[in-house]
Amino acid sequence: MKFLRLTLLIASKDLRSEFRTKETLNASLSFALAILVLFSFAFDPDSDMIRQIAGGLLWMVFAFSSALILNRGFAREVPNDCLDTLIASPVSGAQLFLGKTVANYVLLLLVEAVSLPVFGVFYNANWARRIGLLALVFILAAWALAVMGTMFSALTVNLRLRELMLPALLYPALVPALMAAIQLTNLLIAGDTVGKEDQIWFRLLAGFDAIFTLLGLALAETVFVG
């Protein structure tokens, strides 16, 4: 319980300062919307096309627009050496990591919640047919993005080339999760059922979330304390 108290304290602090300025959220959202608009010009979105590209398009949008949010998560702590203050305070590395992950997760879910209906409008896609499972995919895959992104932004926070290193590390590491999310989103937006053959993607997503959450919690202290 005490573990969660400090975790949530960190998360709520981050969310409070983000919602005060909404800098990152606005940037990320407008970036996501811009890509969605651009792609609708690039392709002539008929229903067949949507079936093929929906998942890929949506997850590209999320992956790229999330980099802004993930980068900011720890960059927020840099200016006044706030990170040192946090590490020296009673909050443990794992709590700090999890708190940051939760804050990033909330922001990512927000971006997804706005982008998905917009996608539906721009591309004439009836995406709500299998909304339950689709929501599950989004919830699982956004956590994958948040957990991996938070870990790698913690790794790169003190580097000279922070903004360049994060994508170089993050995107390859995210490929398994993104692949799973893309496959499932394609199926579900097309209104298909998830057959036995495609169960593997759900297992991959869940496994990815579990393994990297545990690894992150276990290694956070090492990453923060030199």
Binding site: R160, P172, L219
Partner: protein, 227 residues
């Protein structure tokens, strides 16, 4: 290259490779469906084995570094990943050339190929990360963490042919319960793997000496500027 053991390793590797090439080209018959191109397997698969062994060694050394903070482990880990990365490149390139003949395409995005490519990218990112950090202890610590994260993808590559239906063939070696390859054809593959492993060890030792030189440079630099 002054170490006599290294010379011995090099000699053994050279003899093994020569004998293997002789076996593969002169003794073994063409494969029934593939003709002679299948012989590329004698480089393709051992290269992957060596790369994965190197990545695994780096995983162990990284855990070792994080528990002991001994810079030796970091040197080993970085060297192993660089050598492993080279062999992973060999694996990808030979695979691609093989695929051009067998599948008619250079590349296909099936689970095996994709995960291997991702693996290659991840370890490339590891090498990039090391260059971006100046402070040796910080570099060692953060790259050890990344090495541990990256290894999960090696497991995915390993298991991908079982988890997904891929264009890439399933297990063919009898040690993994596959039965696709005649025993006579398997033996040279293992010998070649041994030869490449010896070669990798030589490269690893050379590379580790350079890491030692780098450490000396770091300390000389600190000395020079602290005076």
């Amino acid at each position: 290259m002054r170490n006599p053991i290294l010379y011995l390793f090099a000699a053994v590797a050279a003899v093994l490779l020569a004998w293997d090439l002789y076996q593969v080209f002169m003794i073994l018959p063409d494969e029934l469906n593939q003709g002679m191109i299948y012989r590329i397997i004698y480089f393709h698969v051992p290269a992957a084995m060596v790369a994965f062994a190197a990545f695994f060694a780096s995983l162990v050394a990284s855990a070792g570094y994080l528990t002991t903070k001994e810079m030796r482990y970091d040197s080993f880990s970085a060297s192993a990943i660089e050598v492993g990365f080279v062999f992973a490149t060999v694996n990808l390139v030979t695979g691609s050339i093989w695929g051009r003949i067998i599948w008619g395409i250079w590349w296909t995005w099936d689970a095996r190929l994709t995960s291997m490519f991702v693996c290659w990218l991840l370890y490339a990112a590891y090498l990039l990360l090391r260059r971006a950090i100046d402070e040796p202890a910080q570099r060692a610590r953060l790259s050890a963490v990344l090495s541990i994260f990256a290894f999960t993808d090696v497991v995915i590559v390993w298991k991908s042919i079982e988890w997904w239906r891929t264009q890439h063939p399933g297990p063919v070696l009898s040690i993994r319960g596959g039965g696709g390859m005649a025993p006579g054809m398997q033996a040279p593959l293992y010998w070649n793997a041994l030869a490449l492993a010896l070669l990798a060890t030589i490269l690893l030792v050379l590379r580790m000496r350079q890491e030692a030189a780098r450490r000396e440079i770091d300390s000389l630099r600190r000395q020079a500027y602290a005076l």
